[in-house]
């Protein structure tokens, strides 16, 4: 009999075990919770509670108009934030990539530095500022304040990928376009913009999702007037204590996320996930 000898690929086994236990299984558990409800007569026992299979959680979620409103607010907030981040950071990244002052990326470093301060602390600082200039006190501005906070928090995440693409941009292509008689505007639209699409896509994926779901900013700056989808899940878990309803909403989110990922993967041949945190180090 061949004795089992250690080889490098065996290291994959404990890793696969960890993934199965703490990445795959938890997601399956969410799906299981989403399709069940607490029922004393149920025939399945889940974490010591009898449950039965049902679609009720989904029906209930989509039949409440307040939930649909939350979905619209979440996506509205995310889209406005992402668009603003792109509009602000696109020219900025362009200037930084071309600037002679930005030797070895010193200027860029100045823009990335705030990212190193705790996220919650940064948001809190924004709240103090908005309060000091009197914008926080009016309820009408809650949505605007939340957008300001989100743009402030996520701006470095859009500057980074755009800068990375622009620094690699081949100048001779732009010169060629000008030599061949294109006006600056059409050079931009037909040469520069298409070449920077990968940067734009990765900037969008880095901002769109957290702004839809991370309720830290909307809770801190929204003055109780801005509820996003992540907050609804949170309250189902920590105040309403209906884990099944919370899991159903999480599952809706999961489906949306995977569809978006599938679509954006069609646009980039990059191996996907490197988006968040890329370039920080």
């Amino acid at each position: 009999m061949k004795t089992l000898r250690f080889s490098r690929k065996h290291l994959g086994i404990p890793y696969a075990l960890f993934l199965a236990l703490f990445v795959v299984f938890p997601l399956l558990l969410i799906i299981l919770y989403a399709f069940t409800k607490v029922d004393p007569n149920g025939y399945i026992t889940l974490s010591g509670v009898k449950v039965s299979i049902t679609f009720e959680n989904f029906i209930e979620f989509f039949s409440k108009s307040s939930n649909i409103r939350v979905l619209f607010i979440s996506f509205g907030l995310a889209i406005v934030t992402t668009a603003l981040c792109l509009v602000i950071s696109y020219p900025l990244a362009y200037i930084l990539a071309k600037s002679k002052l930005n030797k070895n990326g010193v200027l860029l470093l100045l823009f990335i530095l705030p990212m190193w301060i705790n996220f919650v602390l940064r948001t809190a600082a924004m709240k103090e500022l908005l309060f000091a200039i009197g914008m926080y006190s009016t309820n009408r501005l809650s949505f605007v304040n939340t957008v300001i906070g989100m743009v402030y928090d996520y701006l470095p995440f859009t500057i980074m990928p755009l800068y990375t693409v622009m620094i690699k941009l081949d100048k001779s292509l732009i010169e060629a376009s000008a030599d061949l008689g294109a006006k600056p505007a059409s050079t931009f639209l037909r040469v520069t913009l298409p070449l920077t699409v990968p940067g734009i896509v990765s900037a969008v994926t880095m901002v769109l999702l957290p702004t839809t779901t991370s309720y830290v900013v909307s809770d801190t700056l929204g003055n109780g007037n801005v509820t996003i989808i992540g907050k609804v899940i949170e309250s189902q878990f920590s105040t309403v204590f209906n884990w099944h309803a919370g899991s159903a909403i999480a599952m809706v989110l999961l489906v949306i996320i995977f569809i978006t990922m599938w679509v954006t993967n069609k646009f980039t041949d990059d191996d996907g996930g490197s988006a968040r945190g890329n370039g920080l180090w």
């Binding site: 890793y15 990445v23 600082a125 989110l253």
Partner: protein, 267 residues
């Protein structure tokens, strides 16, 4: 000329906006005013004294850093094991493992958070330090894998084979050949893990024991639920200290990496 002025002005404007909130906290950390926006006549370092005397905050700061270091060490070990195991597996296994590794990165943090909370309840250890650690490891290990993978790709595979031919056991070859080669990747993954762990709020709040607080959860509670302004002015002093440390850290790193690059160029 006008164009240059315009672009310079734009860069400065964005910088001002990015730094305004932090500078406001820094300025008010030397002022005794209870509320930001109204200057008090008293200036000085008394908020820093308050900060040091506040045992809750000191405890929180210690908690945050210990958690970040422990979870990042675990993540680095797991991520390194995973990256090596994955890289030398057959293509099918590699693709599957790689796909699953990406899930925590793609997924919304809130979904990851509740999924781990559900698993921990099921395994009956509820919200404890263990669940918190698991949460942070799941949050950070994919980034270690992502930073180790390219180093494995760059490595010359003959080195390992040579070590085996020269009589090293596979384990010895792993520790004396592979690990030293990919160490820079492991290190940058570790630092990224620390940064993500220090920053995290959502996973922490869903997996932490009730009486445990990190800087994120403490500040969130003080601000999001504390009305208009923070109920704890000493937090301004804390923000200032964190800010100064971060600047020092980033600048030192920047200088070191530039020196290395310069040395390489000379060679």
């Amino acid at each position: 000329m006008v164009k240059k002025l315009f672009s310079g002005g734009y860069v400065i404007l964005i910088l001002l906006i990015l730094y305004a909130p932090i500078m406001l906290l820094v300025a008010y950390s030397f002022n005794m005013s209870r509320e930001i926006g109204i200057w008090s006549d008293e200036w000085g370092f008394s908020l820093y004294g308050e900060l040091i005397r506040n045992e809750d905050i000191m405890m929180t700061v210690a908690n945050t850093f210990i958690l970040a270091i422990v979870s990042s060490v675990l993540s680095s070990v797991l991520g390194t094991i995973g990256a090596i195991g994955m890289f030398y597996s057959k293509q099918r296994a590699r693709k599957a493992l790689n796909g699953i590794t990406q899930i925590p990165i793609i997924n919304a943090e809130i979904v990851t958070a509740i999924s781990i909370a559900l698993v921990c309840t099921m395994f009956a250890f509820g919200r404890s330090y263990a669940s918190l650690l698991i949460g942070h490891v799941v949050l950070t290990f994919p980034f270690v894998v992502l930073s180790v993978m390219p180093k494995l790709k760059q490595m010359d595979n003959n080195l390992y084979e040579a070590a085996l031919d020269l009589g090293a056991t596979p384990t010895k070859a792993l520790f004396t050949v592979i690990i030293p080669e990919i160490l820079p990747g492991i290190l940058s993954g570790f630092l990224l893990a620390i940064n993500l762990s220090l920053d995290d709020y959502i996973i922490t709040t869903f997996t932490k024991p009730a009486t445990f607080d990190t800087i994120s959860t403490y500040v969130f509670d003080a601000y999001a639920r504390g009305g208009k302004s923070s109920s704890v002015p000493a937090l301004r002093a804390l923000s200032t200290i964190i800010f100064i440390f971060m600047i020092l850290f980033v600048v030192i790193r920047y200088v070191i990496s530039n020196r290395k690059a310069a040395k390489k160029e000379r060679k």
